[in-house]
Symmetry: C2
Subunit: 442 residues, 2 copies
Amino acid sequence: MQVIKQRKKPVSPPLVIAGSFILLIILGTLCLKLPIATTTSISWTDALFVATSATTVTGLSVFDPGTTLTVFGEVVLMGLIQFGGIGLMTFAVLILLLLRKKIGLQNRIYLQESLNQNSIGGIIKLVKIILTFVLSVQLFATIIMTFHWLPTFGFKDALYLSVFHVISAFNNAGFALFPDNLVGFANDPIVNLVLSALFILGGLGFTVIYDIYQKKSLREWSLHTKMMILGTIIINVVAVFTVFLLEYQNPATIGNMPLDEKILVSYFQGVTPRTAGFNTLNYGDMENSTILFTMVLMFIGAGSASTASGIKLTTFMVIILATLAFLRQQSEPKLLSRSIRIDTVIRSLAIATIGLFIVLSFIFLLSITEKLPFLPLAFEVVSAFGTVGLSMGITGQFSDIGEILLCIVMFVGRIGPLTLFFLLMKPKKVHYRYPYDQVYTG
Amino acid sequence: MQVIKQRKKPVSPPLVIAGSFILLIILGTLCLKLPIATTTSISWTDALFVATSATTVTGLSVFDPGTTLTVFGEVVLMGLIQFGGIGLMTFAVLILLLLRKKIGLQNRIYLQESLNQNSIGGIIKLVKIILTFVLSVQLFATIIMTFHWLPTFGFKDALYLSVFHVISAFNNAGFALFPDNLVGFANDPIVNLVLSALFILGGLGFTVIYDIYQKKSLREWSLHTKMMILGTIIINVVAVFTVFLLEYQNPATIGNMPLDEKILVSYFQGVTPRTAGFNTLNYGDMENSTILFTMVLMFIGAGSASTASGIKLTTFMVIILATLAFLRQQSEPKLLSRSIRIDTVIRSLAIATIGLFIVLSFIFLLSITEKLPFLPLAFEVVSAFGTVGLSMGITGQFSDIGEILLCIVMFVGRIGPLTLFFLLMKPKKVHYRYPYDQVYTG
Ligand SMILES: [K+]
Ligand SMILES: [K+]
């Protein structure tokens, strides 16, 4: 990871980020293909798929991890999730710090890109705090879960299951070691609340956590932090309420449950789609309206520089605010006594356009290669793009080509559409300006 | 239509446009509900649905117009299509001109809004040219079609059918008097080429036609005109080619046809979705990939101030150009040695966002009210929003509430999402500016 001092063209940050993920995926595929990793032999495509799914913290799987993977395989899975989720770059800094090496400017720039920070100063401090925070939270949650599962599974299994599911939850991976994911715990408040607290926290984004840690009062929070906290609360309340109403009378899901269970299950299904991917209900049984609503949530995702993917909650909010500002004939979007730069609006437009383009293109391609019904197929692609991992139950039915296409979607979703395009396109600053001409739109 | 001179608050143009359409729809509903309009009694909802579909030049129908409507009913349909398509405001000017009344400033402003023109000067001239052009083209096409259909139907029927289908085609209404729309003419080059030429022309937009008429050489064309001509050619070539490839092996559609027929049918199905709505194939038999592709085309639509709806081709192009400019780190989108203003980009963003919001909301609502499969339902909503009129064959299966929801989508699609929101929201110019704050997106 050390930088060659006299390098003429430093490798671009997007390339380092993408490259790290690819290396981790290759390493994961090789490990999962080892005979000691699985109880039955799996194909290379399946190994690649699950390695990609774990590294990108998606959670889609072509086999049941709990029965197909050995303990070694599960530990590999945990490692991929933890490294993929918290970010390779963050870990690289930890390793350098532990080795007491000086961190070069180029490495700081990579970190800056990967964490979406604007200034290089303080970036090392940020990373230290993030890692301390992450490990403390994971340790704390593991203790709670171990105590909770102790009576059912005994100490050894309770501890092991707790470590796995805490890592999977905090990193928003959505992998579970139970064949029906968390459906068996639909009525267990501790499992529901601890795991959802973990994935909501992980989805806020590290810059938000750092900002809250640094600032003494709520007023000093940056606009970004305020938007993330406010947005997360609003979107989660709306989502929980919507799922509750839409599924209220569906006998295949919550229709026949008592009210308190209806509420708990709706809560979980409302907060999980924006990236977590755990489920306590079968999505194949849900109403089409709930499925469509869930797809929108999956596309939006959670926070920038977090364990989440999708276009990100702030991108979505900026687009909504810009649209409202346009309708009110204001020159810029405003929120909480702050203006948002027009550059940020254009950036959001680009992210959403590319995101929509990717999702539509891959639904299109997969509807050519696969003979699967449309809605479950579209759901699967959006789930892969948002690295969510929810499925209507068709993940095992894709062809090899289909699996590889989904791997690409998960990878692009995780590194972000912009990173991909900055990789592919050569930016050139153009300073000339042509005369303006009117274009009628809409 | 004359303006009361001392009116204190002139009615806003969006209100006049929306109001005219509503009046025409009410009038159409009443006429179609008359016993002399139909061969069998139809419900009020069905009358409203078909009147809305005709006025908004959509072409969706809950009954077969050819068998259910009498000649009187068909003439009503033609009237609604012609007035709805070319625009009530254009006709109002014609009437005023014929009555030799002076056209007041307020009326000129309405016209300006409705035709998307920037200056009031020359607007009357524009309208005169538009009407002369429209009627000449329709007359010319009617003559060709009458000669073509003469041997099959005899003079009277050939003339009547020609008038109806020419009006329906030029206004992009997509209504046909044959029970299977134009499937019976799939192999008839004259019908295919004449009708498609009409609806492509009608979909370019009146400002484009006026610009081409005015300018002596191609170089003098405005950026808008160039974009429309270039965009129409590119999107149609791509669409025809895509339909051809996707359906090539589908035995239910073109799979078993000889090559020349494959090409002709693909041509028609490639150019029809952006607003025309005629079909020479059953959409219920097509591949899911073709259906998805067609939905994207229907959402995009054709030209501003034309007989088309959807977000409009230029809106789509501006969004793509802005995204590419952002990726190239250019400050503004550029095309053909012209820059596009950032205001236009924001306007396009707002139109696309509202369009997407409307489409998703109504698919969501209809998936609650209707027990219909997802893809045909989503297809129907996008078709209504783009006032296209293509259907996978489920239009007759909607509940009364479903029909009314689709009427709202057609109406909103036709007046345009922006017109709707400017009706509902009170614009207030705000000149203060808050301090900027960084928001991380994507
Ligand atoms: K996930
Ligand atoms: K139409």
